[in-house]
Each structure stands twice: as structure tokens, then as C-alpha cells.
Symmetry: C2
Subunit: 154 residues, 2 copies
């Protein structure tokens, strides 16, 4: 049923946890894991000349993202890992597009946090879960659990 | 890692698919499955006298929900199923509360559809994925896939 898992890994402190849990699931299911990162291009890195095509990702950025993805999956034991994939542009669209193009059986990604673009990630999770045409595994980050009755800091 | 799965099953046409996929996952992971349904009480069934406590579910409704849950999991092969559980009130709160109370490792639920309270279910999925302190498995219903470029009917 589930033989290929796309795992979306950002550059946050919780990415190693997401990689680890997705890796454990893949190992238990004898599924292969495809590490994936989205680079928010071109908003943060406008193309010189204003071309702005979403696939014009500078090679340096792509290489760095792939190296970081490989570092994240390196500690995983007993899992077959496919070459890392980098997407560009809107996170939701990029994750869903990759899931379709690679024809994966499952999308794995981390739950949101409470600050910075972790909030964005929360939105990303909701939209991927609602809009993807694949099953989605949302990995909760235990480290972010707020004790009952405690409001998260602003 | 994942030894107990709470699967939220509504009374929609896609519930058997959700039960089947969750059952396959449970079988592969050697996890037990806990079938769970939320009854939107007391909005639809106001308590006589206006007490309105969320745990005052008429026994008839609870019995029927449990029978339907047992029917949904009856076809599952090779899965250890725990007794069905019925929650009342707001779906998101009820699912999250049950996941905490039963200390499950994973919440499984179906993705949203396109009409009626399936839209509500879509909201439920987003909120559960964002707010639960557990991993969440969102099961996409292939039967609801709308061809690219086609807008869902109102």
C-alpha cells in the first residue's frame, strides 16, 4: 500500500525529528523515503532581470538544500533513501506538485510550531492535508508540546 | 513507535475506505485500532430541560454509533480492534480529547470532501492536524478526486 514516502524537511530545529519519525515509519513499512525541501523562490531571491520563473533556482541554493537534506537523512537506519529533491515557490503547491510528479503514496511533514515561519508551516500542513490527493502523515513535534493551560509565548 | 491508532469514522460514504486504509496501516505496524465516532451533541439533540452537558448522550444514540463502528471495522483482516468509543460535541475537541485520554500514538481520519458536512470535515482535519499533540494520518479518499481543472459542484 505505502511504498514511497515524500518527506518535507525544512531548515528548522525540528526537521531532524521529522526525518527520524518518517524514517521509522518507512522502515516499518519497508517503504523508500524521498527527502524534499521547498525554497521560497522567487520572493526571497528575485531573478536578475525580473524573469521570475519558478524553476530558475540558482544552482548554489539547490546544492546547499540537497546537502542539508542528505545530512538530515544520514542518521536513519534501515531505510532506503532516494536522491533528495528540491522544489521552489509556494510550499503547498510545491509539495503537492512533487507528490504528484513522483507518484508517492504518502506525504510526511512536521506539524506547526508557535513562532516565525513555523506558523506558516502550520498553514502549510492544513493546506497540504486538505488539498493533496495523497495520504498525509503529520508528525507532531513533542518538543513543542505546551503544558495544559499554558498559552504559547507571542 | 506506533502501537495504538485512534481512527475517527463518521457516517459518510467514505468511512469504509478510511477504516480499510487505517486497518491496513495498523496491520502493517502491528498496532491496535480504536474505532471512534463523534456525535454532534447537544446542538442537534438538545437535552430536555436545557442541561446541555456534553456527556449526556442518550444511550440509544451511543449504542447505534457503536454498532455502526463495529460494522465498519468488521471486514478488517489481521487487525486487533479495541472496543469502539463514542465522543460527543465538537469534533475537533472530541477527537483530540479522546487521543489524550486513550494515550494513542496516532490519530487517523479521512480527508474532506466537497459538499454537505464534508466541508466541515475538511476543517476538522486541518484543526486536528494543527492542534493535536499526536501524529495524524490523513486518509485521502480517491473516490473524491476531482479531475484537474474541474471545479467541484456547489
Amino acid at each position: 500500500m505505502i511504498s514511497r514516502i515524500l518527506v518535507a524537511l525544512d531548515d528548522s530545529a525540528r526537521a531532524p525529528h521529522v526525518a527520524r519519525v518518517a524514517g521509522q515509519l518507512a522502515a516499518r513499512l519497508s517503504a523508500t523515503l524521498i527527502p524534499f525541501r521547498v525554497i521560497p523562490f522567487p520572493q526571497e531571491f528575485p531573478a536578475a532581470g525580473g524573469g521570475g520563473e519558478h524553476d530558475e533556482l540558482p544552482a548554489m541554493l539547490e546544492d546547499r538544500a540537497k546537502r542539508e537534506l542528505l545530512d538530515l537523512v544520514a542518521p536513519l537506519a534501515g531505510v532506503e533513501v532516494e536522491p533528495p529533491i528540491v522544489g521552489v515557490g509556494d510550499a503547498v503547491r510545491a509539495i503537492i506538485a512533487a507528490s504528484e510528479r513522483l507518484n508517492v503514496d504518502l506525504i510526511a511533514l512536521g506539524s506547526h510550531g508557535y513562532h516565525g515561519w513555523d506558523r506558516l508551516l502550520g498553514t502549510t500542513v492544513s493546506e497540504v492535508a486538505n488539498r493533496a490527493r495523497r495520504n498525509v502523515f503529520v508528525i507532531h513535534d513533542e518538543a513543542n508540546v505546551v503544558p495544559a493551560g499554558t498559552e504559547p509565548l507571542p
